[in-house]
Amino acid sequence: MSSTTPSILRRLWSSVEFKLILAWLAVVIATMVLDPGHTYWKNPRDSSELIIRQTVLLGFFALGSAVIIISGGIDLSSGSVIAMSATVFGSLLILLDPEGFNSGHLETWVVIVATIGTLLSGAMVGTLHAWLITCVGLPPFIATLATLVGLRSFSRGLTQAVNNNKSQIEFPDLVWRDHIKDVTSVSIVFVALALAVWFLMSRTVIGRHLHAMGGNEQAAKLSGIPTDRLKWLAYVLGAVAASMVGIVYFADTGAAKPDIQARGYELNAIAAAVIGGCSLQGGVGTILGTVLGCLFLRTVIDAVNKIVGTGADVYEGMIVGIVVVMAVTFSQRGVSSRIRPFFGTTIGWAAIPVLSLLAGLSFMLFFRDRPWFGAWHAVVFGIIVAGILLVRGIIEIRQKRAV
């Protein structure tokens, strides 16, 4: 009966998760070798703590995004929900305990009530999304685009209203701040959440129904699956996860800054889910893959920062963009046996100068501070890239003729 079922080894080999682990190891080793400061050798503890912290923070709301994506939707608002939650948390602290806020010593109950209130506000945002999508009938893209823009502006207004027209809320209590941002406890909460979501998605009826709905919503509805309620669940889960991150970020950065905090993070979460094997068409994806996707993405960002040495998050967006394109391109290639012509077409030829210019300029940006750097390095690098792409294009055309 199982004659054509692939063996465990082959299944392991073809799984996104396994490939991600291999790719991750490759990045770590490459960083060890190429990093001029050799940080991974000299200070493994701090390096891994940094990566774990960043992975976990991304992981929280990437899990939410993954559930939403698997169920066939999309959530563009998580960055704004993070900012909003930080603001709501700060505002609740001020409103519940103004004296404690000013003196720098918060009561335990205040922190607990503020946490519950913040998570509740996340659940309310999720409910709002679900209502806009199921009852009003907006596409998820539009509904969450509205809250992406709207909630950030709402949070700025809220901050000004509760905090004497200031544009941010400082975290008042240093002891609590250390508790909340503590890597170990945040990681434990994350692992617990990830396990819970993994169990939900892979072992329960609800998880199966979410997969089914994401793959074919019409068929799911006709199979008697309560699609509207499932959507509510997915969007609430996504928003509550983002709220948790909001509280931790608040402690981590020491202030709720709704104008800039977590801006653009929603796309990082979507990117991590996609790198981890989730399909934006819905129905496909795993929680383990998403967690590994977060780890891989954060490690690559960290690696580039180490190797290039700028240390800033300037290039984070570029890296996310490149990694997403590469991850999806390679996972697509597994599907069809024929090699896709990347460059052997009119648009393909037109893309070669664009890519070469981009490569040359990136080279210059990355290494301009190095003592050995000269402008001709970047030019040569760009020309080499152009050459490689041209050769690939020519090979593609010759292959096409041969078929």
Partner: protein, 504 residues
């Protein structure tokens, strides 16, 4: 005379299904060449290859003795080959003229659209077809028959020398069919070669010069129409006898399971105003009730109303075991013992990214789980029980559903329904895209279920099929019940008459 099209050893594989295998025949210039075969015989696939819709296939075909390789319909159109699809390919939001010249718009200098010229040329083309359609009417406001004429006008505007028509009459009323025949005559006098796909004997014998029969993706024979008979063709199409029907005793006198009284479904924004109008019917235990009608007659809508899946809530009454019910969601209908196999398997039935097991158990997960956690062993047992009892051909319940043939996929969906223990089974065109052997199996299965006491409503786009399986046949025309025939009274002729009865 040289053939205008030579088809040589053409084959096509869709994942697990061999749609075409080593097909070769010739089409002569100026002839009307009918291609016949049951659903799933490969007619449509072959036509998609000839018209450039499918560009990777085995074998070759030659146009006027030159090998050609179309990579898109555009290439085919430039070579003078146009296709009128069964499901029309028009942009409904655009006007008639805009559709005719889509992608080849006439432009003045600066590249600005020359609307006037297109309207004029469209009017001229439509006049050639003896129709009085307005070039600037929106396609969405036209009836199916008129939309088809727009497609034909488009083909004319391309100076098509070869026109492929894929079951052009399947959605037409009788008068529209007559008009189409006149248009076809006109095209023939202009010297257009026509490849005509159909499984309707009557029209093929009226129109065709030669007939090619395909069966299960293989070429059977090309015959001169004058030298053959409908019976001979039918024999070639089927190739083997469909398993004879085990006649179960019609349970006329037994209990009414499902009844509707004056069931209506509105259609806002449409000139007709309703999708269904005052449909009253009774379904008995152990009965197979066939619902016939042309495309758009309301067959699917009727089943959707009964299953709580219609977009708007229906008006009128639905009674199950004599109790009035009202479903606003399929889950309620399923709880009440109704199950439905949807018409468009790919779009409405299958979870293509899931396994056979997951597809079968998706409706019955509550029965194989405790506290919301699925028990894998119980789930697998349930799936295997259906795989065995419906004899679904699969390597394992863990195989991806897409590796199964159409017929076996359909059985998985029926198995999915069976796991919910329904009293009433709604089957919407269940044999669509299923090969002929599997069809016979599905008929037997329906028969068996009915004799076990299940009440079944089945629709089909093929009348012979309905005549084979049904105890009783209801006919819908434009949403209104226009006929009811018992098994002994029903003939294709009578049903077609009722189905094309125009509504005031």
């Amino acid at each position: 005379m040289e053939p205008v099209i030579s088809i040589r050893n053409i084959g096509k594989q869709f994942s697990a299904v061999r749609a075409l295998d080593n097909v070769s025949f010739d089409v002569m210039p100026g002839e009307l060449h009918a291609v016949m075969g049951e659903n799933g015989a490969g007619k449509s696939t072959l036509m998609k290859i000839l018209s450039g819709v499918i560009s990777d296939f085995e074998g070759e075909f030659r146009l006027r003795n030159k090998p050609v390789e179309f990579s898109s319909t555009r290439d085919a159109e430039n070579a003078g080959v146009s296709i009128i699809h069964q499901e029309l390919n028009l942009v409904e939001q655009l006007s008639v003229a805009a559709n005719i010249f889509l992608g080849r718009e006439s432009r003045s200098w600066l590249g600005i659209l020359n609307q006037l010229e297109m309207d004029d040329r469209a009017a001229a083309l439509l006049a050639e077809l003896d129709t009085n359609l307005f070039p600037h009417a929106l396609v969405s406001t036209l009836r199916v028959g008129d939309q088809q004429l727009v497609e034909i006008a488009k083909a004319l505007s391309l100076q098509a020398e070869i026109l492929i028509m894929d079951e052009p009459t399947s959605a037409l009323t009788e008068s529209e069919v007559e008009r189409l025949y006149r248009v076809i005559e006109k095209l023939r006098t202009k010297g257009v070669t026509i490849l005509y796909i159909s499984h309707k004997m009557e029209e093929v014998f009226r129109l065709a010069d030669r007939i090619t029969v395909l069966r299960d993706g293989q070429f059977v024979q090309t015959l001169d129409r004058k030298e053959t008979t409908p019976r001979a063709i039918a024999h070639l199409m089927v190739g083997r006898d469909i398993a004879p029907r085990i006649k179960h005793t019609t349970a006329r006198d037994s209990a009414v399971v499902l009844e509707t009284k004056n069931l209506s479904l509105l259609w806002p924004g449409h000139s007709r105003g309703w999708r269904l109008q005052n449909v009253s019917l009774k379904l008995h235990r152990g009965e197979i009730l066939g619902v016939a009608g042309l495309m758009g007659a309301g067959r699917t809508e009727l089943l959707e109303c009964l299953f709580g899946a219609s977009e708007l809530p229906p008006q009128g009454e639905i009674l199950i075991d004599g109790q009035p019910t009202r479903f606003s969601h399929p889950s309620q209908a399923m709880k009440a013992g109704i199950a439905m196999v949807t018409e468009d398997r790919k779009r409405l039935g299958l979870f293509a990214h899931m396994t056979v097991r997951e597809n079968i158990t998706v409706c019955a997960l509550g029965d194989v789980s405790s506290a919301g956690v699925i028990s894998r062993t119980r789930e697998t047992t349930a799936a295997i029980s259906q795989v065995n009892s419906l004899s679904i051909k699969t390597d394992s319940p863990e195989a991806p559903i897409t590796t199964l043939s159409g017929g076996n996929q359909q059985k998985c969906i029926i198995g999915r329904c069976m796991l919910t223990n329904p009293k009433v089974l709604l089957l919407d065109d269940p044999t669509r895209g299923v090969d002929i052997g599997a069809k016979a199996e599905l008929y037997l299965l329906m028969e068996q279920l009915a004799s076990d006491g299940m009440a079944i409503i089945v629709t089909s786009s093929e009348l012979p099929e309905l005549l084979t399986v049904s105890d009783r046949i209801l006919v819908l025309s434009e949403g209104v019940l226009t006929g009811e025939f018992s098994r002994s009274e029903a003939t294709e002729q009578k049903i077609m008459e009722a189905a094309t009865k125009a509504q005031a």
